[in-house]
């Protein structure tokens, strides 16, 4: 049993198809498929990707999809959450980006996206787009160690899978400790040492961001093995193949 965890399709149907093909070819069968947000974007056919996610073909896994940064921008444009008029989107992609996103997702699809969850707690794992702090929280190996530790604690999970950065990485915190001494009005100083042990954060990669190259993650919950897949795909009969 293993899970396939991906993020950032960004409307790139060819990339998603390539990943599905790679999943089918796994010797050890994939038993669950998670899409950690950003299924829509500016570069592809958002409606086609949404339809594909909504209606898996016979024998395919039903993808479990949660909300990402792009979906939140879409909700903001439709006045469904957060600030109106998607200021984050405006700042990063300008008026053209706003117009394109508005036109490329139907109202019906927005409603469907709105019905998705913010993340999934599964066994001792949290699967989410950013972190429990925010959909925009971008965790990378460069994030300060204490902040990563904080995100794991907030996630209340041993393993945190996230997709915001688009990077593939496997970050482990084998151990840590901190000593805390608290003094109050009514009690003398009390000291305790707190430890943290064997937690991990996995960046699951990005399916659609880079043309011709999709990355995603396989995870075996019982052996705790993480492996990254890179799938090259093209439109001119190069065929699919994992590297």
């Amino acid at each position: 049993m293993q899970w396939a965890i991906l993020s950032g399709i960004e409307g790139n149907l060819a990339a998603y198809e390539a990943v599905l093909q790679d999943i089918r070819q796994q010797r050890s069968p994939v038993t669950a498929l998670y899409a950690l947000g950003d299924v829509i974007g500016l570069k592809g056919d958002n409606e086609a990707v949404i339809r594909r996610l909504q209606s898996p073909r016979p024998g395919e896994l039903d993808p479990q999809v949660c909300i990402g940064w792009w979906e939140e921008q879409c909700f903001s444009l439709h006045g469904l959450s957060g600030l109106p008029d998607a200021p984050e989107l405006m700042a990063q992609f300008g008026g053209d980006g706003v117009k394109q996103l508005w036109e490329s997702v139907s109202r019906e699809s927005v409603r469907w996206l709105r019905s998705l969850h913010f993340g999934f707690h599964e066994l001792d794992c949290l699967l989410i787009h950013g972190s429990t702090v925010s959909y925009a929280d971008e965790l990378t190996p460069g994030t300060p160690a204490i902040q990563l530790c904080d995100r794991l604690l907030r996630a209340d999970a041993n393993t945190l899978f996230c997709g915001r950065s688009g990077q593939t990485f496997h970050l482990k915190i084998p151990e840590g400790a901190v000593t805390s001494t608290v003094t109050t009005l009514d009690a003398a100083a009390q000291t305790m040492t707190q430890t943290v042990r064997d937690r991990q954060i996995v960046g699951v990669g990005s399916v659609g961001k880079e043309p011709g190259k999709a990355t995603y993650t396989l995870y075996s919950p019982y052996t705790n093995a993480v492996s990254f897949r890179t799938v090259r795909y093209g439109t001119q009969g190069k065929g699919f193949g994992a590297v």
Binding site: G119, F120, H121, T132
Partner: protein, 256 residues
Amino acid sequence: MITVVAGPCGAGKTTWILQELAQMPMPAVYIALGADTVPIDATRVTARFPQVEIFHHRPEKELLQRLAAEVPIYFELGFQLETDVPLLEARPHRRVALVAEENRDAGWQLWADEVICGNHSTLDLQAAQLWRAPLTGQVFDPPSLDEMLIELTGGAYGNVHRVKGIFELPDGRAFHVDFVKGLPGIEYTELNLPHWRSGRPDRFSGIEVVGWNLEQETIAQTVRDGCLSDGAIAHYQEQYKALISDEINPEESVLA
């Protein structure tokens, strides 16, 4: 055999009867006088011993049948009631008084066949007020209920000597709550009843407060402020249902 139990407010009459019932073969009959529309004690007794018959507004004839069948009958007198009960006249019965040493005046000694040590009572019967309200169908926001009880028993709404009640919580459980001035803390006991998880519970719950200078309006308002709306109840019940189906089928949980 009829056992009549009397004692000051909060002496522990129902608790004593529950102890007796626990030691004897069923069935038995329980009668609480004066509880009317707020039968907190009777509900507590049935939840613990479903086989015990509660006699409330039932014909005297039926009671006599039980007596003839030698079913033990427990008669709990309210603290504010006279100890003369017409039904008991000319029928043999055992009189038990639960009274603390400090409260034992000649009256109790004279009336009772047996005086057992109960909780001490500082209630001035002349000034005592009784406020009670049925709450059937109401479900409480648990932290609000806690806060309300802390304030009420702490004296925020008058001098409170005794609080007892049965309260429904959104997870479907019902609790018996017991407070007697001078005893430590507020006692919460879960009632052995099915968890009510669809709509407003259609079973008795209610509150009774005994004390003096009670601000009854404010107490009622604070109790109301802790009650959940239909929408909130439905929301909680849905969450608990999802939680249970998760336990049965632990596939995954979602962050909503």
